[in-house]
């Protein structure tokens, strides 16, 4: 097969001693920027662009890509340790990762996350290697109606994220949609919900809201519960890592489901964040022990991590095959590509194959080295939790403030963060679920644009969501999953009835 041959050449390129050294350096920088909220892969790449002029283009792109892979690994660490998601796609990892860390199982949570990450990335890389052109065609089938259908499917995962009170779940979700609607109306081009304020024109940033609601909200909750001013005792060590790894194959269903969701969503149209939520929601819906989710179950860490990183890797595919960046980091890399005189887009595969295959080869090598590297850091990261709470707590607040500011370089965002901190605490106490709210915030804008664009296309007819094959099927699935709890309840009742006579 041609792909195998090309891949071998790519691997050979990536494994040359010089490129290997470049790759490890990139992974280090990437993990570092990924760990710090407010710094992301984009910053790491931007800072090293000048260095890349002294490297041959293939080494240069390996360096930049390695930063990207490293940053993907790093994003999860703060979610697990402090409930502060370093990147938007790590939000769902907080749901169970942080409760695990709170129970003193930070080491297990991190190991689970990294291994799941590795698995997701590898599945996506396989697809990237052997099916890139086919997948690119698949991507093209997704227009606005299909995008909307996928959003609906993601929303059906809401059902699993709901709180105790149905009304409050609805209210929290709608508040998320309202926040997402602030800004400009794409169809009419008019400003809405800005009330004449420049600050509101930019809308509410997802990551700022999440740092406030989760990170700061958690700090407030913890002090209110009267946690002692000392660190959590953490079980750690190499043995813990291996013991955890041995438990992972049990979740093979979640692994496969998550990887598939991730690959699909990463390519088109949602991206890593919806993928992680969708995977988490479905894992909970289909789990035997759904009540354990949110309290620190390993499966709740596996699901979002697998999907997010499968999506993160497969997001490179649109850039290589179609020439548009799937993420800000990719946008920066794109600028670099053009600086080296490469034209991103469908011709890259044909005109610069050595470059593309070098990049794909580097994904294989980078993830293999990366997982070993971050796993060896696990005890170190986990030991941070041993620091006295009275030092850790104000440091967390400081880091949160940096993270909130750096998203858009706006002072107002730090204020929003404090505000969201209080909202997060109040909502948690009053049983308003936060998860559907942030999911609505991140998807609301995308879902609404897709819906309105579709209606413009069909001249106002809602039939467009059902008479196109993919849109129809996905919408049908969404409805099915939305009523899944009802279906299972019904099934259980029928079973009971069937058994009842036997018992009687």
């Amino acid at each position: 097969m041609e792909a195998v041959y090309n891949l071998l050449i790519g691997l050979q390129t990536a494994l040359s001693p010089f490129n290997l050294a470049v790759l490890v350096a990139g992974l280090f920088v990437g993990t570092f920027v990924g760990v710090l909220p407010g710094l992301g892969g984009a910053n790491g790449v931007a800072i090293l662009i000048p260095v890349t002029f002294r490297l041959p283009p293939t080494s240069a792109v390996i360096l930049l890509a390695a930063i990207y892979w490293g940053a993907l690994f790093g994003g999860v660490i703060t979610s697990v340790l402090f409930n502060i998601p370093g990147e938007p796609w790590s939000v769902a990892t907080c749901f169970d990762g942080y409760p695990m860390a709170k129970k003193g199982k930070a080491c297990e949570a991190l190991t689970t996350a990294f291994c799941s990450h590795f698995f997701g990335a590898m599945v996506a890389t396989l697809i990237l290697t052997f099916a890139a052109p086919i997948v690119a065609e698949f991507t093209l089938m997704f227009g606005p109606p299909e995008t909307f259908a996928v959003m609906m499917l993601t929303f059906s995962a809401f059902v699993a994220l709901g709180g105790k009170s149905a009304v409050k779940t609805v209210v929290a979700t709608l508040l998320g949609f309202i926040m997402a609607a602030v800004g400009i109306d794409i169809v009419t081009g008019r400003l809405r919900l800005t009330f004449g304020s420049t600050e509101l024109m930019g809308g509410f940033s997802f990551i700022v809201a999440v740092i406030g609601l989760f990170g700061l909200g958690e700090v407030f909750m913890t002090v209110e519960e009267g946690l002692k001013l000392e660190g959590v005792s953490v079980r750690m060590g190499v043995r813990t890592i291996f013991q955890t790894m041995a438990q992972l194959p049990r979740f093979w269903r979640t692994y496969i489901r998550g990887a598939l969701i991730g690959c699909w969503m990463g390519i088109k149209p949602g991206g890593a964040t919806p993928a992680s939520f969708m995977s988490y929601g479905f894992a909970k819906q289909f789990a035997r022990n759904p009540e354990e989710f949110g309290k620190g179950t390993m499966e709740g860490v596996v699901a979002p991590e697998v999907a997010a990183h499968a999506a993160g890797v497969s997001a490179t595919l649109p850039m290589i095959t179609l020439g548009f960046p799937g993420s800000p980091t990719m946008a920066v890399i794109l600028g670099g590509l053009m600086m080296w005189g490469l034209q991103p887009g469908p011709m890259l595969f044909k005109e610069n194959p050595e470059f593309v295959w070098g990049l794909i080869g580097s994904i294989w090598v980078a993830n293999a080295i990366g997982v070993v590297m971050v796993l060896s850091f696990v005890p170190f990261f986990a030991s941070i939790l041993r620091a006295p709470f009275s030092i850790l707590m104000p440091s967390i607040v400081f880091v949160c403030a940096i993270g909130a500011y750096a998203v858009n370089n706006r002072m107002i965002d730090i204020w929003y963060m404090i505000l969201f901190g209080f909202v997060g605490m109040a909502f948690k106490k009053l049983d308003y679920p936060i998860a559907p709210m942030v999911l609505a915030l991140v998807l609301g804008d995308m879902a609404e644009s897709a819906m309105r664009q579709s209606l413009v296309m069909s001249q106002g007819s809602p039939l467009i969501f059902f008479n196109r094959p993919i849109a129809g099927i996905v919408n049908g699935l969404a409805v099915l999953f939305f009523f899944w709890p009802l279906v299972t309840a019904l099934r259980d009742r029928i079973r009971k009835k069937l058994r009842a006579p036997v018992k009687a």
Binding site: I186, G323, A331, G335, Q343, M347, M457
Partner: protein, 327 residues
């Protein structure tokens, strides 16, 4: 948040700054070259991946490679309100030489369409980097070989053909309306968030045509997925391959021209003597970049630039009024 009403301190500082400025003028040092003392915020009033963003992200490594600035340019996207957020931000940074913005035509269209209190005269015009052409594209598998054939088909079935474009009441829709009025057509205009999405939607046959900029569609054209029908300008694009595309007049008999600004602005009250961009446009990398993306090399600075902007603004306003796009 009422942040607009800052104490008078700022006004005082401004007064002093102005006094110093006037004194400086007498001393003949007002035209002192731009010397940033800290990293420069390079504001892109658009999202990541669009034309303005990609150009800014290209300029960043260019500046680094040729040491064009003593301090790095940091690209910051402020895309809220179709760019209004970015413009207002730069406007508020009065007298700060560490803020630069790279704008497209949304400099004119956004305030007109949204009523945001902003006009380009609120900023310091530094230079025009290039102009962007518009090309009428259809899917390569569609039966239309010329613009005339396509327009005839659209005319036969009004409100059936979908024109994809970036945003609402922005340049793509202005051109669409111009075409509709000139040829008596009716398109369904479908707004997307960025030029890349627009091109992909055409390749995927979710729309029937686009007026994408060359850079947004060139890859798909080379891959044989899209077909250019006409350039929306009075002259052909003087680049190999591109020069085979006829102008609107050649293709349809109707003279039509629209090019888009890619201009540099700074906050009000700073010196516009920034030689960084002039030097940048003379580098071989820049020239290759323009050729690769089929951008019109049209560097313009000094007093001619505001004059050109004035004309461009009047033209845009006129077209938007005719199209019923002014709020």
């Amino acid at each position: 948040m009422k942040k607009q009403q800052r104490p008078n301190l700022r006004q005082w500082v401004l007064l002093i700054a102005m006094a110093v400025g006037v004194t400086g003028l007498w001393g003949g040092i007002a035209a002192a070259a731009w010397q940033p003392t800290k990293s420069v915020e390079f504001v892109v009033p658009a999202g990541t991946g669009g034309g303005a963003d990609i150009m800014a992200r290209f300029i960043f490594p260019l500046v680094e490679k040729h040491k064009l600035s003593p301090q790095p340019l940091i690209v910051v996207n402020r895309s809220g309100g179709a760019g209004a957020e970015g413009f207002m931000h730069v406007k508020e940074k009065k007298g700060d030489p560490h803020v630069i913005t790279l704008t497209l035509d949304n400099l004119f269209t956004t305030p007109l369409a949204t009523g945001v209190p902003f006009n380009w005269k609120d900023l310091t015009p530094v230079g025009r980097l290039a102009l962007d052409w518009f090309v009428l594209w259809v899917n390569a598998e569609s039966p239309y070989k010329t613009a005339k054939e396509y327009f005839d088909a659209v005319k036969r079935e009004p409100s059936k053909f979908k024109m994809g474009g970036t945003g609402t009441a922005q340049e793509d829709q202005i051109i669409t309306i111009q075409m509709e009025q000139a040829f008596g057509l009716k398109f369904i205009y479908v707004p997307f968030k960025g030029g890349g999405d627009v091109a992909v939607s055409l390749v995927g046959k979710h729309t029937d045509s686009t007026v994408n900029n060359p850079s947004e569609a060139v890859g798909h054209w080379k891959a044989g997925r899209l077909r250019p029908l006409a350039v929306v300008d009075r002259e052909r694009i003087p680049l190999p391959e591109w020069n085979k595309i006829p102008t609107m007049k050649e293709a349809t008999g109707f003279d039509m021209g629209y090019t888009m600004l890619r201009g540099i602005f700074m906050p009000p009250g700073v010196s516009k003597e920034v030689d960084l961009f002039r030097k940048g446009t003379e580098t071989p990398e820049w020239k290759k970049y323009l050729a690769d993306n089929a951008l019109k090399p049209a560097f313009l600075a000094g007093s001619d630039y505001p004059k050109w902007l004035e004309e461009k603004e009047a033209l845009t306003k006129d077209l938007m009024k005719k199209g019923g796009l002014v709020k």
